[in-house]
Structures are given as structure tokens and as C-alpha cells.
């Protein structure tokens, strides 16, 4: 059996699955239910400074994109930080940590951009004996209009400044949670590191409007006839989050910066992918909000089975292993040639490969409709683009073959040429200039 235990900034948890700061972690009753279900840790829903309680809307605060079977592909929300009294939250955090010492308990924080506010709340949080704090620089709705959340996360100088204050006023590990609503995720990550943060977590939610009600002519879902953008999460955001995690993981100036990855983790496989990109833990929200806490049991058993299959004894055995393979386009081997191959025994003759290649690609799949209705690759035109592979409804029916012997009928060039990247390609003006 693989060992799923993790040690992230010294914070230990029995598995890498943490619940992200979100509605499921707003109160003791939920968090204890989560721990009983098997979650390795939680990031308690964001606390704000003492004072009059936060006021949420009392209408739809979530929106969704559904698949045809109403599978939730993405959620968005306009919920603010916790609207419960700070003292109650602090008391419950302390109780939970004492009752569940083996689980990770990190507290998310958001405060106005002044040092005293952060100092004050950090002192109170430290009393709970929680394992660390996560700075919410991410929420793109509501609080950002008040100068917090993503309003901080979008300005690297603020990120650095607040991170530095926090490191100065607490002994607890500090994780900076990054907003994806920014052009270059490395900038705030570098700022966090420069400010002394121990780790980053990403991504927070993506700015979004989930749809327009074409009868009411309002955004979905509206509050008294009006709507606003919310923060989107769930399976649909995972590719964006993977790219951002990868950017940080492979940035030399951020080497070694621990990452807690967030974004559409729904199954063990999603978690394993983030770990392969270097994440030390993963955080989950939408899967729990869609199916309940039990989903962690699939995640933990699935990850364990995968690791056993691969012979990975610990998470660290495969953590970051995919990072070296991620590079810039300019370093891809332009002499590599792949062409599609159709397994005629598996083909169900839907013809989608043909029509998409015909209409949207390179006219490289023949449709032979007389008699047998077969679809065949025209290697003289196929550029190996993968579109047919992706649209084929049958697993492994169409695959890309790496060509190594013979001559490419499309280019007339042999298949087995030595690797050649754009950086050295004769068509690259920069290469010519250097000569």
C-alpha cells in the first residue's frame, strides 16, 4: 500500500487531499464531517477582521455550467468571506484542531491592506493552534470591490507587502493564495516569495458570468433582476489551473517554492496530475460541493492504487516528475513526425474523423462510402494534428503513430531526422540573424 502522508511546510496530513477555503469549511460541523469522511486537511473558510458581520446575498449565490445529464462542469459563486462571527470561528477552529490533531488545519484570512489589521487578526488566529494561514488574495467578486481579495492579488507589490507583514507578525507558515485573473501568474508568485511567503496555493476562482437568461435578459442567476460576475471553479477550470501551476513549477526563480494546487480536482487522477507538476497537496471544493465529502474516498483509494501500480511508495516519489517535460513551444522538436492511424477493427464508422479533418483541418482522411463505409488516413496530407484522435468516440481507435522509418509523403523528407527546434530552425529569422 502506498503511503499517502504528506508534509507540507511541516504541516502533516494523512493524505494530500485538503478541502479548500470555501463553503464546506465554514464551520465546525462541516469540517468534522469532512474529517470523519477522510479528508487529510482543510483550509478554514476565510476569516475577516473583527467588527460588524459580513452580509451575503440571500438569493442565488452559486451558478453552474451543466453537461447534458446535469453533470456540474463548473460552479461559480458570489459568496463573500465568512459571515459568521470571528469569535465563534476562532473558538471552533481551536476545538477542531484539538479534536483532530493528525489533520491539517490551515486558516484562510483576508483583511484590509494595512499592517495593523493583519497583525491583529494573525495574533488571534495563532491562539487557535492551527497549522498555518493562507492569505486570500484571490476572490474576484465582492471583497475585491473593497480593496481585498483579487484586488491585492492582481498587484504583485501588494502581494509582497502583505506577505512580508504576515511573516513578520506570525510564526505560523504563510501560504499565499493566488488569483488566476492576471496575465502572468509568475509575477504574484515571485512577489509572494520575495515577501517571504512559505508557499503559494492556486488557483482561486476565475472571473465569470455563467450564462444569460434569454427570457429575463439578466445574468444567471440574478438577484432581484441584476447579476454580477462571480468566481468560477470545478472541472472546467482544471486545464487553466494546470497551466498556471506548471508555470510556477518550472520557473527557475521560483524553484523549490511549495505549491498547494487547486482547480477542478474531482478524482484521484486530477490530484495525481497536480502532484506530477510539483504540488505538495491538492485542495478541493467543487467536487465536495457537488457530491458531498465522500468523494475523498475515491480520491484516496484511486491515488493509492495508481501509486502501487507505478511502484511509488510515497507522494514525493512522483511529485514534480512531469515538470521537466514542460517547455516553451520554441523548444519542441519540429522534426518529430506523427501520423494518425485508424484501427479498422475498432472503428464504428461514425465518420467524425473524416468530416472534422475535411472541414476544419487538412483533408487527410478519405471517406470510402461505396460498400463498406470506411475511413482511411491519407498520409500524404496528415500532419498528425490529433484532432481526429480527440473527436473519435472510441477509445484508442485512432492513435498517433510516431514515424521513424521511411519518407514522409507529405514533405518528401525522411522520418528519422535529428531533433530540430525552432530556436535552430532555418526558417527562424533570429537564427539567420545570428549566422
Amino acid at each position: 500500500m502506498a503511503d499517502l502522508r504528506t508534509d507540507f511546510l511541516g504541516i502533516k496530513s494523512p493524505n494530500p487531499f485538503w478541502l479548500a477555503s470555501a463553503p464546506p469549511t465554514d464551520r465546525k460541523v462541516n469540517v468534522e464531517r469532512a474529517f470523519r469522511a477522510g479528508w487529510g486537511g482543510v483550509v478554514w473558510k476565510t476569516l475577516g477582521e473583527a467588527g460588524p458581520p459580513v452580509v451575503n446575498v440571500s438569493g442565488a449565490r452559486y451558478g453552474a455550467i451543466h453537461g447534458p445529464d446535469r453533470r456540474v462542469l463548473a460552479l461559480n459563486n458570489i459568496e463573500l468571506i465568512t459571515d459568521r462571527d470571528l469569535e465563534i470561528n476562532l473558538k471552533e477552529i481551536k476545538e477542531v484542531k484539538r479534536a483532530w490533531p493528525d489533520r491539517a488545519l490551515v486558516v484562510s484570512l483576508m483583511a484590509p491592506c494595512d499592517e495593523e489589521s493583519w497583525k491583529a487578526i494573525l495574533a488571534r488566529v495563532e491562539e487557535t493552534e492551527c497549522d498555518g494561514v493562507e492569505l486570500n488574495f484571490g476572490c474576484p467578486h465582492g471583497m475585491s470591490e473593497r480593496g481585498m481579495g483579487s484586488a491585492v492579488g492582481q498587484v504583485p507589490e501588494y502581494v509582497e507587502m502583505v506577505a512580508r507583514w504576515c511573516k513578520a507578525h506570525t510564526r505560523m507558515p504563510v501560504i499565499v493564495k493566488l488569483t488566476p485573473n492576471i496575465a502572468d501568474i509568475r509575477q504574484p508568485a515571485r512577489a509572494a516569495k520575495k515577501g517571504g511567503a512559505d508557499a503559494v496555493s492556486l488557483i482561486n476562482t476565475i472571473n465569470s458570468i455563467m450564462g444569460i437568461d434569454l427570457d429575463a435578459m439578466t445574468p444567471l442567476d440574478a438577484i432581484d433582476g441584476k447579476g454580477t460576475h462571480g468566481g468560477m471553479c470545478g472541472p472546467a477550470v482544471k486545464p487553466i489551473a494546470l497551466a498556471m501551476v506548471a508555470e510556477i513549477a518550472r520557473d527557475p526563480s521560483l524553484a523549490g517554492l511549495p505549491i498547494s494546487a487547486i482547480g477542478g480536482v474531482t478524482t484521484w487522477r486530477d490530484a495525481a496530475e497536480y502532484i506530477a507538476l510539483g504540488a505538495g497537496t491538492v485542495q478541493v471544493c467543487t467536487a465536495a460541493m457537488t457530491y458531498g465529502f465522500k468523494v475523498v474516498q475515491e480520491m484516496a483509494t484511486g491515488l493509492s492504487a495508481y501509486m502501487d501500480r507505478k511502484g511509488y511508495a510515497t507522494i514525493d516519489d512522483f511529485r514534480g516528475r512531469a515538470v521537466p517535460s514542460i517547455t516553451d513551444w520554441q523548444h519542441l522538436n519540429l522534426n518529430f513526425v506523427a501520423k494518425a492511424r485508424i484501427d479498422q477493427d475498432l472503428c464504428i464508422k461514425c465518420g467524425r474523423c473524416h468530416i472534422v479533418c475535411e472541414d476544419a483541418s487538412h483533408q487527410a482522411i478519405f471517406a470510402k462510402l461505396d460498400g463498406g463505409r470506411t475511413f482511411e488516413i491519407n498520409e500524404a496530407e496528415c500532419v498528425g494534428c490529433n484532432l481526429c484522435v480527440l473527436v473519435c468516440p472510441v477509445e484508442n481507435c485512432i492513435t498517433l503513430d510516431h514515424k521513424t522509418h521511411g519518407v514522409d509523403p507529405r514533405t518528401g523528407l525522411p522520418y528519422d531526422r535529428p531533433p530540430l527546434a525552432w530556436t535552430a530552425h532555418p526558417n527562424n529569422p533570429a537564427v539567420k540573424a545570428a549566422e
Binding site: G67, P68, I348, C350, G351, L369, P393, V394
Partner: protein, 455 residues
């Protein structure tokens, strides 16, 4: 057909063998319709194939991938319009088509996983919404001044009339019966078209306007083909098959409780209260086609205890589809094959059983297998096929084969100005969908012949 509605001697024929509620439930929808969510989920299973095999398998070439995609995108009436553009009887075809041998057999998911997209049910989902409005989504082109006569308001006749009317032709339909719909109204099994669907569909089709239906007017009797040719610019014959085949055995006409299945079903279909229909406790059906299945299953649903279909050839020759045969079997009908009737037996003028002879078939030649068996029963239904009644054509020089009209690809008969389609023409399959296609093709040909551009 004389059916004694009382136990008589050893014979037991009675109405109301089951309580009315059970009978009503037995005659409810064979396939309940899909709801909104189920339709959405099912529509997502369609791969939107290139040059879709399902569309090619459809005799009316409905653009199935397009209408399914329209359902998936919440455009139910658009989906219905796509269907009606190709097949104005898409609603009935969704209910009665042998989809398992047409579109759904061709569906690539059938090859992939043995579970085709449920095209029939999706087609019903799409068409039901529009038919329930009772209003045609089609509008008529400007009047052309042309007039066409259509004989028969069945699927072929209505399809032809509709296409002609849309193109601006004035159409008169001559219908021998009291209601439109042909076999949709009088023939197919009741549980396939519940809630008076055949009538609703006919009203929906006729709502386009420009079609006058004269009921109770039979060709050859009340109106002559020559008159139609004289008075109209084109004539489309779609009167179906007016007669049924007979066993040719003594007792077939004389004995009580021996009935022609087609006649019985017509009465059954029109019966408001099915529990008034007398049926035997033990029923034997002779035949191997859809009518044999329909009468056998409906006998069961009326409360018959033992129903046996006897077919003279082996099961692979049965015209009833495999689905239909299985439907019969799951309803408790016993199917015996390779046996032919040699004597109809009765006592005191009342049917009591059939003596069968086992047959042995070799390369199409029947030979007695040397054994006989008797099935004692209270009721006998014959369902051995229908035949044409060319005599109603009054000797017009129309080429016939086996009593049915010969047509070319455009559904032209050998007689100038006369087209034909549906069951009265020579063809392998007497399907509603084929009849609709006949009507559609004939209308195209007629419009072309009259110099009218199709709408």
C-alpha cells in the same frame, strides 16, 4: 365475421375477461414517451455522424443527427420541423417504425455497444410538441390553379396531399372510410398509438389547408378513375389493400368465432371501451406477419388465456420483426412454426379448433412432415396477408403485378396522369414510413409534371 359474445357449448368467447382498468392499462403506451431530461440525456448520445447511417437507413431520409442536435439544444419545435420536412407523418413513424431494422440498426452506437440512440423515442419527443398544437408549421405557396385527386387518406395519401397543398395545389382526397389515417386509424395495434393519435396527426396534417377530404367515397363505387382523370390535373392512388387472403378451408366463413384479424382490429381500434370486445379464452392465430402479432398480443391484452400463433414456414421467414415476435412472446403468446392448417373444426356451427400438419420446407418446396396436431380453441383469427382490389380501377390500363400496382421510381403508374403509392403498389415492405415516402416522391413527380416548383 360472427363472434358470439357468450360461452356456447364448449366454446368460451366473452367480453370483459379482465376488469376494465386492467384492460385500459394493457392498452396504454407500449413505449412511454421521453420526458425533458431523458430526451436531453439521450440526445447527447448521438455522435452527429458524417453522412449518417441512420439517415440513410430511413426510407424518408429524415436528417436524424440534425433533429437530435436540435433537441439537445432545447429547440424542440425546430427538431419537429426538421422531421416533418422529410416525413410529415414523423409522429406516427416514431411510434410504429421497426426502428430496430432501420435507423436504430444503422446507428453506430449499435455497432459500438449494442445500444443504439433511441431515435424513435427522440423523434416522438420532438414531434409530439408540435402535433399537440394542432397547427401545421408549414405555410402554403400561392395558389397555382392546379388540382389533384388523391384516393385514400392513409399515410401515402396524406403525405402526397400535404406536399401538394404546401406547393399551392388544391387537393381533394376521396376516402372510403369515415375517418382519415388509413391503417394508422384502423390497423396498427392500439397500444402503439394511444390517445387517438392517428386522428390528431391527420388533423395536424390537414391543418395546412388546401386539402378537402370527402369521406365515405370509395373508388370504383362512388367515384370512377375516369372521372378523376377528367376533373383533376393529377391523380394519386393510395387506397391500400382492400381485401385479405383466405385460407380456403371449409368453415372459414360459416363457423362462428372465426374472424379475419384485419376486420377485428379495425373494430377494436374504434372501440372506445376495449372491455366490450369479446375474445376467446383460447385463441389461435394463423399467419406470420405484423397483423398476426398484433391480433395475438391484443387478444392477450383483452384477457385471452392461451394464444398461439401458427405459421406455416420457419421463423426466419416470418414478416414480423424479431422485436415484434419477442413482444408477442413476452406477452405470453406461443409461436409455433412450420405447420399449416388442414381443417377448421367446429361443433354445431361454432368453431372448436384447427387441425395442423407439420411441414417440412426444402428450397421453397413444402412437404408434409407426416405428422398432424390439433389446437383446440375458442377463437380463430386469420392473418395471412392482404391483397389488392384492382377491380376498383374499372379496367383502366394500369400495369399490375399480383393485384398490386406497378410504379416507377417517381411512383408513376403506366397510366399517364396517374401516380400511386402505399400498400396498393408493388413493394416488399408495407410500412407506414415507406408509404409516406411514396406520397412524398409522387408529389414531387406530380409537381414537376404540372410545372409547379416544390415548396
Amino acid at each position: 365475421m360472427t363472434i358470439a359474445g357468450r360461452p356456447q357449448g364448449l366454446s368460451d368467447v366473452a367480453a370483459g375477461r379482465l376488469d376494465p382498468k386492467t384492460i385500459e392499462a394493457n392498452f396504454s403506451d407500449l413505449h412511454p414517451p421521453l420526458g425533458f431530461h431523458a430526451a436531453k440525456v439521450e440526445s447527447d448520445r448521438c455522435y452527429f455522424c458524417f453522412d449518417a447511417p441512420c439517415q440513410q437507413a430511413c426510407p424518408t431520409s429524415i436528417d436524424i443527427p440534425l433533429f437530435i442536435r436540435q433537441i439537445a439544444a432545447d429547440n424542440r419545435t425546430g427538431a419537429a420541423k426538421t422531421i416533418f420536412d422529410a416525413n410529415i407523418m414523423g409522429g406516427m413513424c416514431a411510434r410504429v417504425c421497426p426502428t430496430e431494422t432501420l435507423c436504430e440498426e444503422a446507428c453506430v452506437r449499435e455497432a459500438a455497444e449494442g445500444k443504439p440512440v433511441r431515435i424513435g423515442l427522440l423523434q416522438r419527443y420532438a414531434t409530439d410538441a408540435l402535433i399537440e398544437t394542432g397547427k401545421s408549421p408549414f405555410s402554403r405557396a400561392a395558389p397555382t390553379g392546379k388540382r389533384a385527386a388523391v384516393v385514400g387518406a392513409g399515410p401515402a395519401g396524406l403525405a402526397c396531399a400535404h406536399a401538394l397543398a404546401v406547393a399551392g395545389v388544391e387537393v381533394t382526397i376521396f376516402e372510403a372510410r369515415a375517418k382519415p389515417g388509413g391503417l394508422n386509424e384502423y390497423g396498427i395495434a392500439a397500444y402503439k398509438a394511444v390517445d387517438d393519435f392517428a386522428a390528431k396527426e391527420a388533423a395536424f396534417i390537414l391543418s395546412v389547408g388546401g386539402i378537402e377530404v370527402l369521406y365515405g367515397v370509395a373508388l370504383g363505387e362512388h367515384v370512377k378513375l375516369d372521372d378523376l382523370r377528367r376533373d383533376y390535373d393529377a391523380v394519386f392512388l393510395a387506397m391500400g389493400l382492400g381485401a385479405t387472403n383466405k385460407l380456403g378451408l371449409p368453415g372459414e366463413y360459416e363457423l362462428e368465432n372465426v374472424a379475419d384479424a384485419v376486420d377485428y382490429i379495425a373494430v377494436l381500434r374504434q372501440a372506445e371501451d376495449k372491455s366490450t370486445m369479446p375474445v376467446g379464452r383460447r385463441v389461435v392465430v394463423i399467419g406470420g406477419g405484423m397483423t398476426a402479432i398484433d391480433i395475438a398480443v391484443q387478444s392477450k391484452k383483452l384477457g385471452a388465456q392461451n394464444v398461439t400463433i401458427v405459421y406455416r414456414r420457419s421463423s426466419k421467414h416470418m414478416k414480423a420483426s424479431r422485436f415484434e415476435r419477442e413482444l408477442a412472446q413476452t406477452n405470453g403468446v406461443v409461436i409455433r412454426t412450420s405447420a399449416r392448417p388442414v381443417a377448421i373444426e367446429g361443433h354445431a356451427g361454432v368453431f372448436s379448433g384447427v387441425l395442423f400438419e407439420d411441414t417440412h420446407e426444402h428450397e421453397g418446396v413444402f412437404a408434409p412432415a407426416g405428422s398432424v396436431f390439433r389446437i383446440e380453441a375458442d377463437m380463430l383469427f386469420t392473418a395471412i396477408g392482404q391483397r389488392g382490389t384492382p377491380e376498383i380501377l374499372d379496367g383502366a390500363e394500369i400495369e399490375l403485378t399480383g393485384g398490386r400496382i406497378v410504379v416507377d421510381a417517381e411512383r408513376r403508374t403506366s397510366f399517364p396522369g396517374v401516380w400511386a403509392g402505399g400498400d396498393c403498389v408493388v413493394g416488399d415492405e408495407n410500412l407506414t414510413v415507406v408509404a409516406v415516402e411514396d406520397g412524398k416522391q409522387a408529389a414531387r413527380s406530380i409537381l414537376s409534371a404540372l410545372g409547379v416548383s416544390a415548396a
